[in-house]
């Protein structure tokens, strides 16, 4: 969008306001601290004077004659009785006082030094180099001048000025008044200013000591009228009232010759008020408070931080055409869809500009009124407002709908309610990656929540324990086209993080597909029809006839959702378990998933096939058949999973973890042996017989040995427990298929919880030399250091429970610390990268055109289109071609 630019910024200059300039831009001198009189009319020359602008309808600005929305507001000014320093320039004032002579005001450098530095400054100016090196040079110059104790020009002895924070300067303990400071700054000659990095055309140092204070327009500090009719003034107005009051009292005291002490007190008070007017969080002074005790929000507070003007109002804004509500799951929706409550759909609108092609449609919409329904009582989009070509809004009601439908003509605009099929943006915060905001097509549903397919939980990182999400309605055709082509869920299925699928089946989907395909079970025709009724299928899969009845194989049922021509062969998760030898090692037909021409021949479907992050089937279908087929597979797979589970049923409970008496005994034996072993270790340590490991102290060696023993004990008892729990156990099915939990969790429940740890070691904190008063001092035995030999099912004894809680707390704290830290890190990265751009030649450059990378990522590869980070999966391509040729 460079066409519409009529003016370009050539230069920006920052300068100080001089007292004359403040007076010049002021419309009126404010002398009264009052705001409104008893009738509620602004007092003349008060802080709400009509010359400063209007905020009340009906009144006219005394300066420009404009009404409420016409007058931009005008500045006024306050003449301060005595000068005060400006908190924002304390550092600069200090530098000026330090580096110049207190008597003659010249910078404490000899003519020769001046000449040399001037040359370097000019050189830097011509070089157009960065600001940093200039400020470094200025720092060096002023430091050198400050270190002089005798003025090279008038030989005056210099006294060190000490800054007594926040705003007082002292010389040998005696206060230097702002008036004196101002006089000294005035003495500094113009030609010396360049050594301070100050430009004479922009500023004079004495302007950093205020004699006149600008009064901002009332538009900046509007007063609000409460329901009770009471007026409440803005914080800035309150502060200005204080300043005027004190200034007046100070003037009176000075003029009628009050004691110096009283004048100084008032002067300090004026300084305080002016300081807090600028920044109410200045270190060293208590913040000015409202009567209620709330700290006032003054100028700096308005701008600074997350809630300040920049981050809250300029970088981010509240928007129209958006909705937010709780989310809930709906497995019958496609991943590309979102269920929108009727209530929201009636409020959210899409503009339709009437032209000769759509005028009839537009008329029909308007005619239907604001809440139309079809003959079955179902939602139909209506119209809330129509816009005349001059921009006037007309509300459509049931009564005027017919009439309005006749009024609209070409050039009018009709705000149509949300309809099924509209594309919208759906978002969940924190928006950590681009899949946090995706395009969905609308389905209007009853109820009050947004609904979507469970496979989309992963990219949004959503669950349904009360999460809320936002919906944005696109208002322009270009935006809708863009959303449809690049933002739709099916276009975002592969993550740019690792080039694999980020969308896939979760929990029940994986369990269901696992049960459906593992060992290729048989299902009766009735069951099969029920399952397949959840999916759109054209024909039944191949069947077998046993005892005269039709039966269907699980893998054949699964094959109905695979696209024709799809080939793949890979190892399932079931058989790639960590280290353990797979029990199907000898049964090739179960070890590898083999799909040929869209027909599943061998293997078991689990997390490695259809899970998010890992699902090979999803990834390969997506890459071979495109986004549409990819999304269709996920849609049908999730539906089939629901269909399957509603015939078979699936449940888990505490009885899943029942193991025979002998196994319990053998686990107890394991833990007894471990305790014994730890006992001997400690014994030999006490006797000094323990050999230290290389590079470790004796204590460290002991700890590591013990940790080894406890770890072994847990693994051992886990093995004993899981040997009793086979693949017919629901919990094991979930763990082995990757649907939820790990085998470790099962062994914690059925076998033994094991050693608890804090920061990688055994628990050793709490009381002096012991974790709890139940142990004796110096007890470093297993129980005293957080070894839990019970299982979750048995239950933990009080001591175990306590130490387990200590270990658990560490995890919680870690999460809290991690999220806040990584959040800030991400913010900094985003700010650093936000305006980098990849151009047509895949070159990465910033807005100036300076090159960051000559080829994006140095290889020019878009990770989204890569194969898990690699450029191509040649093995698969070869395999696919061979299989396709055979088929």
């Amino acid at each position: 969008m460079t066409e519409g630019i009529s003016k370009r910024i050539y230069r920006i200059q920052f300068a100080l306001l001089s007292p004359e300039e403040i007076r010049k831009m002021s419309q009126i001198k404010i002398i009264t601290a009052d705001t409104y009189d008893d009738d509620g009319y602004p007092i003349e020359r008060g802080l709400m004077d009509l010359h400063l602008g209007v905020i009340e309808p009906g009144l006219k600005c005394a300066t420009c004659g404009g009404k409420v929305d016409e007058c931009p507001g005008h500045f006024g000014h306050i003449e301060l009785a005595m000068p005060v320093v400006h908190v924002g320039f304390i550092k600069e004032i200090k530098t000026f006082l330090d580096a110049t002579c207190k008597r003659c005001g010249r910078i404490k450098l000899t003519e020769d030094e001046k000449k040399a530095y001037l040359q370097r400054i000019n050189a830097l100016n011509n070089e157009n180099s960065d600001i940093d090196s200039m400020s470094l040079l200025v720092k060096r110059i002023t430091d050198e001048a400050s270190s002089r104790t005798v003025c090279p020009y008038c030989d005056a002895q210099q006294i060190k000025v000490i800054l007594d924070k926040p705003t007082t300067f002292r010389e040998e303990g005696i206060k230097v008044t702002p008036k004196e400071i101002r006089e000294r700054l005035e003495r500094i000659p113009d030609e010396d200013l360049i050594f301070f990095g100050m430009n004479r055309t922009a500023a004079r140092p004495e302007w950093m000591v205020l004699t006149v204070l600008p009064v901002p327009p009332i538009n900046v500090r509007p007063s609000i009228t409460l329901d009770t009719g009471e007026r409440s003034e803005d914080d800035l107005t309150h502060k200005l009232v204080d300043i005027i009051r004190i200034s007046q009292r100070l003037r009176e005291s000075r003029d009628n010759g009050s004691p110096q002490l009283i004048i100084e007190d008032l002067w300090d008070l004026l300084q305080f008020h002016v300081t807090t007017y600028f920044d109410n969080q200045t270190a060293g002074i208590p913040p000015a408070r409202h009567r209620s005790g709330r700290a006032l929000k003054t100028l700096v507070q308005r701008l600074k931080g997350k809630e300040g003007r920049f981050r809250s109002n300029l970088s981010g804004k509240r928007v129209n055409f958006s909705a937010r509500t709780v989310i809930s799951p709906e497995p019958f929706l496609s991943v590309n869809e979102v269920g929108v409550p009727e209530l929201a759909a009636r409020e959210l609108t899409v503009p339709m500009t009437v032209n000769r092609f759509n005028i009839e449609t537009a008329r029909e919409f308007v005619k239907a009124g604001p809440a139309p329904r079809d003959q079955f009582g179902r939602y139909l989009p209506g119209v809330n407002y129509i816009l005349r070509p001059d921009g006037r809004r007309i509300k459509v009601t049931k009564e005027n709908a017919d009439e309005n439908s006749k009024r609209i003509d070409i050039g009018w605009s009709v705000e149509r309610q949300l309809a099924e099929g509209d594309i919208v943006l759906f978002n969940r915060q924190p928006s950590l990656h681009r899949m946090s905001m995706m395009g969905h097509t609308v389905r209007i549903l009853s109820g009050r929540t947004f609904r979507f397919n469970l496979a989309v939980c992963t990219p949004y990182n959503a669950d349904f324990d009360g999460d809320e999400m936002n919906l944005h309605i696109l208002q322009k055709e270009e935006a809708r086209a863009e959303a449809r082509i690049i933002m739709k869920v099916q276009e975002q299925m592969l993550s740019p993080r690792f080039g694999g699928p980020i969308i896939g089946g979760i929990h029940d989907h994986i369990t269901a597909m696992f049960l459906l395909t593992h060992n290729n079970p048989l299902y009766s025709e009735e069951e099969t029809v029920h399952m397949l009724s959840f999916v759109d299928v054209d024909e039944m899969p191949d069947h077998e006839i046993i005892n005269g009845k039709k039966f269907y194989r699980g893998r054949d049922i699964f094959s109905t959702i695979l696209p024709k021509g799809f080939n793949i062969k890979f190892r399932s998760k079931l058989c790639s378990g960590a280290g353990e030898k797979c029990e199907y090692e000898d049964r090739i037909e179960d070890k590898d998933v083999f799909i040929k021409d869209g027909k599943m021949l061998t293997g078991t479907i689990d997390e490695a096939s259809i899970g998010p992050f890992s699902g090979v089937i999803i990834e390969k279908i997506y890459k071979k058949f495109g986004p549409h087929e990819g999304a269709r597979f996920v849609d049908r797979m999730t539906r089939l999973a629901v269909g399957f589970l509603s015939t078979r049923g699936f449940s888990t409970g505490i009885t899943d973890y029942d193991i025979p008496e002998e196994a319990v005994k053998s686990i107890a034996e394991t833990s007894r042996k471990a305790l014994e072993k730890i006992g001997t270790l400690i014994d030999s340590y006490n006797k000094g017989l323990l050999e230290p490991m290389p590079g470790r102290s004796l204590e460290e060696t002991l700890e590591m040995e013990i940790l080894g023993v406890t770890g072994e004990a847990r693994d051992e008892s886990g093995k004993i427990a899981s040997a009793q729990l086979g693949l017919s156990n629901p919990s094991v099915i979930m763990a082995r298929s990757g649907a939820r939990a790990k085998m470790l969790n099962i062994s914690e429940v059925a076998g033994m919880v094991g050693q608890q740890s804090v920061r990688g070691g055994r628990i050793n904190r709490g009381y002096t030399q012991r974790t709890l008063p139940h142990f004796s001092w110096g007890d470093i035995g297993a129980e005293a250091r957080g070894f839990v030999e019970s299982s979750y099912k048995q239950g933990l004894n009080p001591l175990e429970y306590f130490l387990h809680s200590i270990g658990g707390r560490e995890g919680l704290v870690d999460i809290a610390v991690r999220t806040s830290r990584s959040g800030y890190m991400q913010r900094r990265l985003i700010n650093a990268f936000e305006d980098l751009k990849v151009d047509d030649s895949r070159r990465v450059a910033d807005t100036v055109g300076a090159i960051i990378q000559f080829k994006y990522g140095e290889d020019g590869i878009d990770p989204t289109r890569s194969d898990m980070g690699k450029t191509l999966d040649l093995n698969y391509i070869e395999f696919d071609q061979k299989e396709s040729a055979e088929a």
Binding site: S133, L136, L137, R140, I851, F854, G857, E858, I861
Partner: protein, 88 residues
């Protein structure tokens, strides 16, 4: 420790100084001016090591860096030497 030439370390990519002819050619190919190239400080250890074999390298010289990449094989990068004179 003896003086170690950083360029001999396996993690440091190859650095070359371009002569004016090559320089011109590279800039023409890229279609940009020198000030838009990424910068490298004259005090950078790689430049100091390069100066040992090449003689003084003036600010404004263009350095060609050839990096090994697991995905791209080799990737070429150009950086222009800047004085980077910091006060003090």
């Amino acid at each position: 420790m003896g003086k170690f030439n950083v360029l001999n370390h396996e993690l440091v990519p190859e650095h070359y100084v371009l002569d004016s002819k090559e320089e011109e050619k590279v800039l023409r190919e890229l279609g940009i001016t020198k000030d838009l190239l990424p910068k490298i400080n004259k005090s950078d250890p790689a430049i100091i090591a390069l100066e040992q074999s090449h003689g003084d390298i003036n600010p404004g010289s263009v350095i060609k860096i050839v990096r090994k990449s697991p995905t791209a094989g080799i990737s070429v990068y150009y950086r222009v030497v800047v004085s980077g004179e910091t006060v003090r």
